[in-house]
Symmetry: C2
Subunit: 357 residues, 2 copies
């Protein structure tokens, strides 16, 4: 076998030498870009440019290497080149070693300075104060809906959303003993129960399912009562010392938590962008319907609409709306101008490249 492998490995070594040489050529050109940017104080990290490079990698990739794998490699290449200009400092909801840190790497590659913060508030504070150039915070969990504290802070912050990242999250069935012996009820947030119903019907059709406020609350209940099992993330299970009965039980393997990147930077259009808004209207019949009419009129798609009672600010309800397109796209500009006229409260949270996954 060695005789056959040797020439192939020599070929690989020769290719690696060429790749290494090209990487350094690229880094030198990136340094020139840095000098040009420094003359005008332009930002080192341009999310729209990086998103374009990554999309182009997938489009032009002839294979056999996978598109996702090629993008992972190029994300690290851009991260390494960027670090030659300046290591970007990124605040995130700690502790380190968690999904939030993975979200940082998924957006910025590994050549960054991560800054773990104790709370979502602290991520915003550190980024607003400029201690960190960007902050990464969870904004939506496909099993438990919106992360309220992030939404509240987005309402008031001067920071701009410059990107989004989705991270796969798995549900596990857990109990105090790590078995289903003596368990008479399975607790979870109603969305999580729904997301695992095929699996539950197959494995535990006769065990009562009980909806509770959150999966973390389910884990807490299971830690107090051996007749209760919880569906939650394994991180929650670890916090409450639960044993795992089964891992990865969600019917959809693509369950995700969505994070947003906040900072001082407003990215330019990348060709495939999303814009996040917060709106409010006086509480009267038909008001919301009228509010949104300009979007339909200008052919702007809405990808998310979420109303929530205000905890801060003047209005009874705030509407968090995501639309397709960038504030600099003509249709979006026009729709938003009209929409602003209809709204009692209007704030653009940011326009940013749509995430790759």
């Amino acid at each position: 076998m060695t005789d056959k492998l040797k020439p192939l490995r020599d070929q690989i070594d020769a290719i690696d030498a060429q790749i290494l040489s090209l990487l350094n050529q690229r880094a030198k050109v990136a340094q020139e870009v840095g000098h040009v940017k420094a003359e005008t104080n332009a930002p080192v990290f341009r999310p729209e440019r990086e998103a374009q490079v990554l999309r182009s990698v997938a489009e032009r990739n002839p294979g056999p290497i996978g598109d996702t794998e090629a993008q992972t490699i190029f994300r690290e290449i851009m991260s390494a080149c960027r670090a030659l200009e300046k290591r970007v400092t990124v605040a995130y909801l700690g502790p380190s070693g968690t999904f939030s840190e993975q979200a940082v790497y998924q957006q910025f590659g590994h050549a960054v300075e991560g800054m773990p913060c104790a709370s979502i508030d602290e991520v915003f504070r550190a980024t607003e104060a400029g201690t960190a150039e960007f902050g990464v915070v969870p904004v939506e969990n496909s099993s438990e809906g919106a992360i309220n504290r992030t939404l509240d802070l987005l309402l008031q912050t001067p920071l701009i959303i410059s990107g989004e990242v989705a991270i796969a999250v798995h549900h596990s069935l857990m109990s105090k003993t790590g078995t289903m012996g003596g368990v008479t009820a399975i607790c979870a947030h109603s969305q999580a129960l729904a997301q695992c119903q095929v699996w539950l019907n197959e494995h535990y059709p006769h065990v009562e399912r009980r909806a509770v406020a959150s999966n973390a609350e389910a884990a807490r209940l299971a830690s107090l009562d051996p007749s209760v099992a919880a569906i939650a993330s394994e991180i929650a299970g670890t916090q409450y010392n639960l044993g795992i009965v089964n891992s990865h039980i969600q019917d959809d393997p693509h369950n995700r938590t969505r994070f947003v990147i906040v900072g001082q930077l407003q990215p330019g259009p990348s060709g495939s962008d999303r814009t996040s808004l917060v709106l409010a209207v006086p509480n009267k019949a038909g008001a919301v319907y009228q509010l949104l009419a300009p979007l339909a009129k200008h052919g702007v798609s809405m990808t998310r609409f979420e109303s929530r009672p205000a905890r801060v600010g003047t209005w009874e309800y705030y509407f968090y709306v995501d639309i397709e397109g960038h504030v600099q796209n003509q249709a979006v500009t026009q729709a938003l101008a009209e929409l602003k006229g209809n709204a009692a409260f209007f704030k653009v949270l940011g326009s940013y490249p749509t995430s790759l996954n």
Copy 2:
């Protein structure tokens, strides 16, 4: 600025196109390697070969790109090529989203199937049963010493250590309130107190320091008593709902947890390897000294020596010994043959490339 940037970005795009083309050429040759290996049932993942490639990247790297950054990129390149032959399944101590998962990526790149397990025992079981081809388990923590359960299981398992990974771990000062108001004692494992003493002398010279069994125990105590602050990892703080007073307080920023990779595979020599052994001798004066004499005689360096009372097996004490070199190196072969003659219990846990960090 756009006028100046455009030609530079065109250059980068042209370089990226060449890199992408070379990546796919490399992937095709790697597929041929896969076919040759398949003829003889040879393993897809060769840690010694990957270690050689990464070392060579750092040696031949002309810059300006950083050596570590170049290695990160090539680790992902190898991971992507390997995934074309077969996605390696790797069991690790869950939950996902923790340092153990980061250790998996640091050894195998991102193109793997991670399999989070609820306990160290389960990682060994899954790997012994062949459900996972490799397992990743913590073996040593620079603040709290050996991970006992891993050492016990290594004694009995038929699995072989085929690699090691070190992950940076930070200490934080935490309390129930997240402040030092009313705190009269700082608890931690004695090693952690020692590792933070410069910082503690500067910031809290007059607060009592109290050594406890582990940093996790310190976190538990702090969760029960507002007059106690703990030094521990932020993960432990999260488990016990502590607030962070200060992050990253260890005097040595390079505090690390060491993980080993276990599997059926015995890697060949990579040129810079380590061999792990377990030994036992009857408990009599001078026995340990005599036991180790063959290492000195053959010029083999010992990098770690740890004795621990046996919880399993026949002997009173077991000695966990790491030496420089591979079992196939002549000096090591000879030293081990003599050492085996002296020992009442002798087991080679594996020879593997030394970690890059």
